[in-house]
């Protein structure tokens, strides 16, 4: 559809962001235009959705995402997200979404204290958000995971609420790689427009450059549907 071809998805770069180029590439491979957004600007350039990519914004000084959260563009994104703008936070972007209080809980250092980098199997628990509706509930996907501060924590009441409201979007399958409470890899807000997760869908979008999969070495493209999901949700909005 013409609207899909015209979808414009912003990818934000902070000082210390690492995965903005991969995220922009994922957006293009999914069929939308990637719009580079700079943290110090205060103009969202009319984008239809925003990706907060991974990395170490502001060197992760203070806490992961803590300083980036007060960047001028971030204030705009928080307002727009409250108004329904689809926002995906990946890794450092997820940390940023919790620091911004768009999503509950927080991330602390991995329980084993090591940086972890692996091809991670996840179970899709909520397949009705703007970023996940092209998956099936219960589907298992494999995408890369790479972080040091990836242990998701929240108080028991918050965790119970997330579970009861179906807001656990992804759970680690098989092994819990960082000690996250209840194996939580990603969550959504109640409206389903804001999704955050620690693993990296943008690194599993093109055959030859993804995780190993049953169809071949480096052939995994399980991350692509994050981006095609949001494009489709814009078409139908």
């Amino acid at each position: 559809m013409a609207a899909a071809a015209g979808a414009r998805i912003g990818v934000v770069t902070f000082p210390g962001t690492l995965d903005d180029r991969d995220a922009a590439r994922a957006v293009r491979l999914a069929g939308a235009e990637a719009v580079a957004l700079w943290h110090a600007d205060d103009d969202l350039q009319g984008v239809d959705a925003v990706v907060l990519p991974g990395g170490f914004s502001y060197g992760d000084y203070l806490r992961a995402g803590a300083i980036a959260r007060f960047a001028p563009l971030m204030e705009k994104i928080v307002d727009a997200a409250h108004g329904g703008l689809p926002v995906l936070g990946i890794c450092n972007g997820f940390q940023l979404l919790t620091e911004s209080h768009l999503l509950p809980g927080s991330m602390i250092k991995n329980d084993h204290l090591h940086f972890v980098c692996r091809e991670q199997v996840l179970t899709v628990e909520n397949a009705s958000t703007a970023w996940t509706h092209q998956y099936a509930a219960g589907e298992r996907i494999t995408i890369p995971l790479k972080n040091q501060d990836g242990q998701y924590v929240a108080d028991e009441r918050t965790l119970d609420e997330l579970e009861a409201e179906g807001r656990v979007a992804f759970r680690y399958e098989g092994v819990n790689p960082n000690g996250s409470r209840r194996g939580i890899a990603g969550i959504t807000n109640a409206r389903g427009n804001v999704v955050g997760l620690m693993p990296h869908p943008e690194h599993a979008v093109e055959v030859g450059f993804g995780p190993d999969s049953p169809s071949g070495a480096k052939a995994g493209t399980d991350g692509l549907r994050f981006f095609t999901s949001v494009i489709a949700s814009l078409v139908h909005a």
């Binding site: 203070l62 602390i108 250092k109 084993h112 204290l113 000690g179």
Partner: protein, 82 residues
Amino acid sequence: MGRVVVDVMPKPEILDPQGKAVVGALPRLGFTQFTSVRQGKRFELEVEGAVTPEVLAAAQEAAVTLLSNPVIEDVVRVADAS
């Protein structure tokens, strides 16, 4: 010149992986009497003049909005350290 000290600690119910690593290393140096370590952060905020009640109030606000994340940390001290 005035100085305000802000101390931030991980919440008691939050596992502190860094403190746990430190407590594991202590016995290797012969410090066998320490059963637990928790690692926090200390901030020193400087102001031009004296530390007034207004300065302390502003430091308290900065402590709970930026210097700490109330989900995982407690501000345990905001004090004049001039």
